[in-house]
């Protein structure tokens, strides 16, 4: 480890604010990019699933109606 203590790691020899701001911003951007991409995929899959279920139920009720005629 380059730094002697955890305090030193945070301080970064008085550049701490800048280093951690840069890393923080990067981490945030990567995190949000990941969540946003994955979220969109899951939402789309769920929406398609719901549509499929609705269609299935629609078929079933149409079948029922067909039986009564």
């Amino acid at each position: 480890m380059y730094f002697d203590s955890f305090g030193d790691l945070l301080q970064m020899g008085k550049h701490g604010f800048y280093v951690w701001t840069a890393y923080g911003a990067t981490g945030l951007v990567l995190l949000i990019s990941w969540l946003s991409a994955r979220g969109a995929f899951v939402k789309t899959a769920q929406r398609l699933q719901q549509q499929a279920e609705l269609a299935q139920r629609g078929d079933q009720s149409a079948q029922h109606r067909g039986d009564h005629t």
Binding site: Y2, M12, F41
Partner: protein
């Protein structure tokens, strides 16, 4: 023999259904490698790499700034290449690729500008300097915004695809021209300022973590782009039989 199997792969990549099936495992590989590489690279770069003689610890910002800057450019060139392939081979998936690269590219370029600015303040004294690299990155951001604005303005999918492909290609051709012109401009207007290129060669303890971070960033980009492409494919191919089968298989899992 090799060319025949390559042709088959090329053909498969052009079909949304096969692309979707093919990339299911790729996404997992990309995601996990990105995680491992980024964590490893960050810990190494922040905690274990030696500090720079002149810059001190602020130079550690390089480990997140340089990969972002590289990725920003690569994603745009990726859009240009996709546009070219799309116009020549009429592959619809290339527009899906462009739509997937665009948001990530914009955000990564903005991040590169931000981290570069934060790096500049303790190192060279100012939040912003107009030099070759800052101007090039700024122009790259405008190139991204241009394509974004263009896509927002065209409602028809086919026409949007063709227009984006055209502008992405022209922009990609422009990138080296801009780099060269701006570097030339910079040598006139700036006294020799020290940058990474002018220092003595970096020792391996310093650039090895950078390599890991660059690989990590690219793996991450691959992951995000593939996920977005798969989402877009589901949206575009909603009515297809294979999509319905996939949805059903997924709900049964």
């Amino acid at each position: 023999m090799l060319s025949a199997s390559f042709k088959r792969l090329w053909h498969k990549l052009g079909s949304p259904r096969w692309f979707f099936a093919l990339t299911e495992s790729w996404v997992k590989v990309a995601g996990w490698s990105a995680l491992v590489l980024l964590v490893w690279g960050t810990i190494w770069g922040l905690g274990f790499a030696p500090a720079d003689y002149q810059q001190g610890n602020s130079f550690r910002i390089m480990y997140v700034h340089v990969p972002a800057a590289m990725l920003a450019q690569s994603l745009y060139i990726g859009m240009g290449v996709a546009g070219f392939i799309g116009l020549v081979w009429r592959m619809k998936l290339t527009d899906v690729a462009i739509s997937a690269c665009l948001p990530l590219g914009m955000v990564i370029t903005a991040l590169a500008l931000f981290s570069g600015s934060v790096w500049g303040r303790p190192t060279w004294g100012s939040w912003w300097e107009w030099d070759g690299r800052t101007v090039s990155t700024l122009v790259l951001f405008f190139l991204y915004v241009g394509i974004y604005a263009l896509r927002e303005a065209i409602a028809d999918q086919e026409l949007r695809a063709r227009a984006s492909a055209l502008i992405a290609m022209v922009g990609t051709i422009n990138i080296p021209i801009i780099k060269y012109s701006v570097e030339w401009w910079n040598t006139l207007h700036q006294p020799a300022s020290f940058g990474l290129t002018q220092k003595p060669a970096m020792p391996s303890e310093m650039w090895l973590p950078l390599l890991v971070m660059v690989l990590g960033f690219y793996a991450f980009a691959g992951f995000v782009v593939l996920v977005r492409m798969r989402t877009e494919i589901l949206n575009r191919e909603m009515g297809a039989r294979w999509v319905r089968d996939w949805v059903q298989a997924r709900s049964e899992r």
